[in-house]
Amino acid sequence: MAERVDGAGPALRVLEGGRAAATDGDLLRDFLAGDEPAFEELWRRHHATVHALARRYARTPEDARDLTQRAFLRAVGAARRALRATPTEFPFRPWLLRIAANLGKNHLRDEARWRRAPVHEVERVPDRAVAADELLVRRERERLVRAAVLDLPRRQREVLTLRIDAGLSFAEVARTLGIAEGNARVHFHHAARRLAEVVREGEVEP
């Protein structure tokens, strides 16, 4: 599928059927050898998933975009180091998603002092047609449940957000986190139970 071409510059990969046929590993190696369009293909493949995760932790749309870019840069840097140490296949997408989740959580911790509204509240345009009380109740419940998502134990939070934000199957969630699929489901169950409790608790409060 791929063939090395030696030339004056860095050895780049020429792909039959274009870059779309390349594996992430091929693209990564090409990018690290100086082929910038290879990065663009990696970006095209994965940016939406990374951004979907980043949004959970971002306070503004700009923050979410910044976190997405930083996750890519860190994953590429991690790949550069790992491949230098051991030239083997680098699990780019799992690392990218885990880095995104870690960066997101760190970002949230660092930004907590600003107490700005979460991005999903900034993005939403108020719908004046909906009864105000109903909307307020819904918003308050969303706020409680989304805060509870961020307070979940790390593994539960990772599994939940990889499933409901990034839309990964449990098999891919498991591969991303390096755990068994059954284990991923169990973490999801714990997380969902906890969120259901939060909803119930919110309803009985005066």
């Binding site: 970006w43 870019q69 880095i99 969303e142 939940l160 499933r163 909803v199």
Partner: protein, 162 residues
């Protein structure tokens, strides 16, 4: 506290996750027809996940995110340049330090010794290997690169209480 039947709770959670196979779904739905506590629990879990889900991304924002790849590339390039520049400066500063310290110490040594040094205590040069080893060649930009700390963090066991 869940009110669901233990045998069916995992199935209703899988259904809420959108990850249940057809056989289990049919089995669960037959059970839900006759079990009010499981119906209530299923409704609570599905409502909670619906509240937790983020609203759809506006199209304009989706396009802005997609365009970020070029910006990320520029950040990558400038980060590499800063890293290289910082490394050169750090090496230069370390080299200057490595020359200046022995020179200073030697010049002190060459000067007439203070009275108390005449008691026979030898003045020792610092261990230059140790000085060099203790010199941090990294710069602030290196912190923006994935660090060994990050590797360790990603590989650490899950310490969260379940």
């Amino acid at each position: 506290m869940t009110r669901a039947c233990p045998a069916f709770e995992p199935l209703l959670l899988d259904r809420a996750a959108g990850a249940i196979d057809a056989v289990d779904r049919a089995r669960l739905e037959r059970h839900l027809e006759t079990c009010a506590p499981c119906r209530a629990e299923a409704a609570d879990v599905e409502r909670a996940l619906s509240l937790a889900a983020l609203p759809p991304l506006p199209d304009a924002e989706r396009e802005a995110v997609a365009r970020g790849g070029r910006e990320a590339l520029l950040r990558h390039r400038s980060g590499r340049r800063r890293l290289a520049g910082g490394l050169v400066l750090a090496i230069a500063a370390s080299a200057a330090f490595a020359v200046a310290v022995p020179w200073y110490l030697l010049s002190r040594h060459a000067a007439p010794p203070p009275q108390e040094a005449s008691t026979g205590v030898a003045w020792e040069l610092p261990d230059l290997d140790a000085v060099w080893a203790a010199t941090d060649l990294s710069d602030s930009d290196a912190a923006a690169e994935p660090s060994e700390v990050l590797f360790a963090e990603l590989q650490e066991v899950d310490l969260d209480p379940q």
